[in-house]
Amino acid sequence: MSGFPWISVLTLVPIAGAIVVLAVGAASHTVVRRTALGFSLIALALTLLLWYGFHPEANGYQYQEMHPWISMLNANYHVGIDGLGLLMLLLSAIVTPIGMLASRQVERQVSLYFALMLLLQACLFGTFTALSFIHWFIFWEMGLIPAFFLVRLWGGPKSAKAAMQFLVYTMVGSITMLMSFLAIFLATRSFDFVDIGRMAQSGRLMPEIVARLGWHLLTPEHTAMVIFAGVFLGFAVKVPVIPFHTWLPLTYTEAPTGTTILLTGAMSKMGLYGFLRILLPCFGVQMQHVLTPLLWLAVATIVLSAYTAWAQTDLKRMFAYSSINHLGYCILAIFAVAKFTGTDAGLMSQKFAAMDGVFLQMFNHGLTAATLFWFIAMLEKRSGGVRGLNDFGGLRRVMPVFTGLMGIALFSSLGLPGLNGFIGEFLIFKGSFPLVTWATALSVLGLLITAIFILGILQRVFYGALPEVWAQLPDLTVGERLSLVPVIGLMFVLGLYPQLVLGVVNHTAMQMALTLRNF
């Protein structure tokens, strides 16, 4: 690895982009859009370079940069990526241009809108590369600011309420998490994830905390549990896990669709990333203590969100709940991986499968959900904002290409083999079933209900008689088709050749699963 600060540069590209976009703000909307898109594509190109230069078989973090930062807090500017970080960077870099392309309806304050989008992307990059808590937390929190304004200023009629709920809700989670980390810092004098994880795995972390903080009202186990609960809440809200999800449907629905794409495609992965990067290595023991209730939460997340999605009539709201459902599978697998299995080699291999499944599912969900919301944006643009499930019918007659391509995305979301969604779900179920049999068996219900509402969408929107009002809806333009081709193509590529991703992340997945062996 050369000493070139690749990651810092990558994070700075969207920030620079935001400044440039604001500077050319007076120019025409098209110029602003193209500039912003250009910067996001530069970021994508940089990410691909990182992908190209990454050594999949190497241990630990790559492209590391480490500089002393706040010596009093013992905090360093420490960034680096492993397979998971790299995958998330790539996902953010893919999702951002999709979000921008889907923001055609934005007509007011265009330059500010795109500048905020780029800032959000910078925060995503920062979150997925930071290895020190302070630095990570700053990006995690700062990401809320552009997201808040994007929802608040360009959102739907209830955007004020939505933005507020989104902010307050995630803020509450952040604060409990901050408290827990302060407790850890006071005990360990470290904010470094790698150090803290190492201490946790050697069993020194919690005794240290109890000794230093000595909350006499609580037993040591309870102290550890309270600290775990604080961090858990922060991530559970972000993913989200039912019942900490109530901010999501409103926010996803009211946000401008381009922003929803970033929220669901990339930002929801921040929560899962936290589960994998922080919760599993640092709080494995605590998760094992409360594994059964955690599994119930996972099953509830999967099943209830699927059923609720089925009952929705607003397409965006439907996909919002569907997002919860898809990430629920990741949660299930993460909890399954946390289960104590001793040294059983067979079960270890199941953990590898589940972990690889989580990685794939995170990426695939990001890709598919972003694409589905993109289709909604294109539909909204044509229908003047109408997106009710029952407002359409027979659109296949006037928009055959749109129907075909959105059909592919819908079936990818349904988990059809041959498309990207399947392998991730297969690995998750394959790995989780032997580890947590009953929870996995119950979760299968989610797959059925997903099929029900996805076919329901196809039936009500694209099949049947075409209402007179929509008889003139134009099909996809050439430009739209061309911009969709890479995304849809990627769905096929990942469905048929998942090794493309697994070859890069498998080593990291194994490392992560193996660290748990020490508990």
């Binding site: 307050v168 803020m171 209830l304 797959l447």
Partner: protein, 702 residues
């Protein structure tokens, strides 16, 4: 390794490539689409024949005729997931059947779909279907098989809903996909369970495959928590998939509705090939299905196969009963298909792979023949599907009539010259000598009687008497396909073009000849599949129960046909609105059968309604419970802030105004938490950060 074994993947890949090219072909490229689909299918057929010949050759040389070719697909942890393909007699027989029947139906479709605006799309879907179906057959991995299985389900969905503007077609396609998926989910669990227990999903892999003795012994040795052995549990879960796909009771409800699709689709997918995939699946994993009995050396049937037998025999009888009281020409055939699939399952359960598979192959030919014949009838009657409005077509459509009659007699199991007789007889014989129970035999025999009866009924309705077709009332299936033909032909029934009748005659020829491959005297088919020595032995007829069963099943067929003549042949049906001759006598029973035992209504009232209710409940939970809890916290905070502010203003402020400014401000900040002003939020974050940092610094220095 032989070339054909290594390149077996070409058989599914050729139609797949054709489907890919057709997908990006413009709507006007009709010729291109049809030639691509038919060309690729012909090549696949030739390759299949080659593969078949290769297996036959190996068999004759006495070599091992199970060859596999495996490759790595992707890795997880230290393992690789491998896929592969397999060439053995089962594969060889199936690929030849599917490519041959498929090819004929593709050709037929040129005529049938000639006037459809989405002709190009139709051939694209057909090619994709063929690719997935062939992939399913050559797969040497349960995972690859499942993937193709799901894609087959997708194409079935797309083709049932091909006339998408018809709401009934849209509903039927959704129902088909979802009902089969209900079976697929236990199947999926069975796959992951099998994977975790045997460590591989390859069927055969030089001794380490999941269907090979080592793995099977391992599976049989383990017990589940409820005492069943793991092998049985997995086998039953996999069988759930077969129940869904092969329209077995109680997941059969989608198949009759699937008749909303174009008739070539009904013939290819919902009669000859896809619905038989479930039967094929059971045959493929037969070592697992029968593992328990095999390993323990017991002669009795394994628990899993007992379930297969019972489900099959219930389905055989159930489908036949319902078919008696249907009026739609395609729905009669659909229920007949359900019934025959039940026979196949029963054959697998009581007799083994060759017994079930022989009926699968013969049925594929005569049932697709019947469906294509029905399509020809519908085409000739300008889209009419109600048999009460037909009649007299025997004279007007002679080729269709002759070929239909062949198919009908084969389906009934008319003795000696029709393939259905030999294959069905073998199942009945196996059921007769089954050591556990005679009930499946009687159920099967009664279903055979009903089969002869309802087919006779249909023949008299459609081809005898004089036409009852009314002008300009075309609706249903063919209405879309034939709408453009109205002006050419007028409402008079007419014979179909050669592109449709030639496939009919080819299939009829096969239907007649195929039976002789599996007679008891020269059981070539059975010996081919089960690797037993083949010899001509007319003494086989004298084996235990063989002759009596043949005689009695023949008598049953004559009785069924006779009853059909008694009710419908003696006095021809004279008016379209006249009550059914059987229905007139037993109206109550006839109504129950006509409504298919009200299964749809029952499911609607129970499962569907329960699920909808649950989706309402979960929405309600979302709105009132989860969100309610959040709102309570919110109002609690708000109340606290107000209280704090009240105390500040009225109690504290009065006396210690200056000193307690800090407290007051915090109260106001809390109050502002709900104002919705961003600035106040940022202020909260800022203050919190300052406080925490101060705390840290203080502790750090202390």
């Amino acid at each position: 390794m032989n070339w054909i074994v290594r390149n077996l993947w070409l058989i599914p890949m050729l139609p797949m490539v054709a489907a890919g090219i057709i997908a990006v072909t413009k709507r006007k490229g009709r010729m291109l689409a049809a030639s691509l689909a038919i060309g690729s299918m012909s090549l696949s057929f030739l390759l299949s024949v080659w593969a078949f010949a290769h297996v036959v050759l190996l068999r004759n040389q006495g070599q091992i005729d199970l060859q596999v070719w495996n490759f790595r697909w992707f890795q997880f942890g230290n393992e690789w997931v491998s896929l592969g393909w397999i060439l053995n007699p089962l594969t060889a027989v199936m690929v030849v059947m599917v490519t041959f029947v498929g090819l004929l139906i593709f050709i037929y479709s040129i005529g049938y779909m000639a006037h459809d605006e989405n002709f190009t799309r139709f051939f694209g879907f057909l090619a994709l279907f063929a690719a997935a179906m062939l992939g399913l057959i050559v797969a040497n991995s349960l995972l690859l098989l499942f993937m193709c299985w799901e894609i087959v389900g997708l194409t079935s969905y797309l083709l049932i809903g091909f006339w998408y503007s018809n709401p009934r077609a849209a509903a039927a396609s959704k129902k088909a996909f979802l009902t089969t998926r209900i079976g697929d989910l236990p199947f999926f669990l069975g796959i992951v369970w099998l994977y975790s227990k045997s460590g591989t999903l390859l069927f055969y892999n030089g001794g380490t495959g999941c269907l090979e003795p080592m793995s099977l012994e391992h599976l049989v040795a383990q017990r589940t928590t409820i005492g069943m052995c793991v092998a049985t549990g997995i086998a039953l879960l996999i069988f759930c998939g077969a129940v869904g796909k092969s329209g077995q009771f109680p997941l059969h409800v989608w198949l009759p509705d699937a008749m909303e699709g174009p008739t070539p689709v009904s013939a290819l997918i919902h009669a000859a090939t896809m619905v038989a995939a479930g039967v094929f699946l059971v045959a493929r994993v037969y070592p697992l299905m029968s593992a328990h009995a095999l390993v323990h050396g017991a002669v009795s049937t394994s628990a899993a196969l007992q379930v297969v037998t019972w489900v099959g025999s219930i389905t055989a009888l159930f489908g036949a009963l319902i078919a008696v009281a249907q009026y739609d020409i395609k729905r009669i055939l659909a229920y007949s298909t359900i019934s025959q699939l039940g026979y196949m399952m029963m054959g697998l359960g009581v007799g083994g792979v060759s017994v079930g598979m022989f009926h699968l192959i013969t049925h594929a030919f005569f049932k697709s023949l019947l469906f294509l014949g029905a399509g020809s009838v519908i085409h000739g009657c300008s889209g009419e599907q109600d048999i009460r409005r037909m009649g007299g077509l025997g004279k007007l459509m002679p080729f269709t009539f002759a070929t239909y009659a062949v198919g009908m007699l084969a389906l009934c199991g008319f003795p000696l010259f029709f393939s259905g007789f030999w294959s069905k007889d073998e199942i009945l014989h196996a059921a007769h000598v089954w050591d556990l129970s005679q009930i499946p035999f009687y159920m099967g025999a009664f279903a055979a009687l009903l089969t002869a009866f309802y087919m006779a009924r249909q023949m008299y309705y459609v081809f005898a008497g004089s036409t009852r077709l009314e002008v300009g009332e075309a609706h249903g299936d063919g209405a879309n396909a034939t709408a453009g033909m109205e002006h050419e032909h007028g409402p008079v029934p007419h014979e179909s073009p050669a592109v449709m009748t030639v496939p009919l005659m080819t299939l009829a020829g096969c239907t007649l000849l195929l039976g002789f491959l599996g007679t008891p005297a020269w059981p070539w088919f059975q010996s081919f599949l089960e690797d037993t020595r083949l010899r001509v032995d007319f003494g086989a007829f004298a084996r235990e129960g063989m002759f009596p069963v043949m005689i009695s099943s023949s008598l049953i067929v004559f009785l069924g046909l006779g009853l059909g003549w008694w009710f419908y042949g003696r006095e021809p049906v004279d008016a379209a609105d006249a009550p059914d001759h059987l229905g007139r006598r037993v109206p109550a029973i006839f109504a129950v059968l006509g409504h298919a035992f009200y299964m749809d209504a029952l499911y609607d009232k129970t499962f569907v309604r329960a699920n909808i209710a649950f989706s309402r409940i979960s929405t309600w939970l979302d709105r009132w419970v989860w969100n309610g809890a959040v709102q309570i916290v919110r109002y609690g905070t708000l109340a606290f802030a107000h209280m704090d502010s009240f105390i500040d203003n009225h109690v504290v402020n009065g006396a210690f105004d200056e000193g307690c400014e800090g407290v007051s401000r915090s109260g106001q900040i809390l109050a502002k938490l709900q104002t919705g002003r961003v600035q106040s939020y940022l202020k909260v974050i800022g203050v919190a950060l300052i406080v925490f940092t101060a705390l840290l610094l203080w502790r750090a220095n202390a």
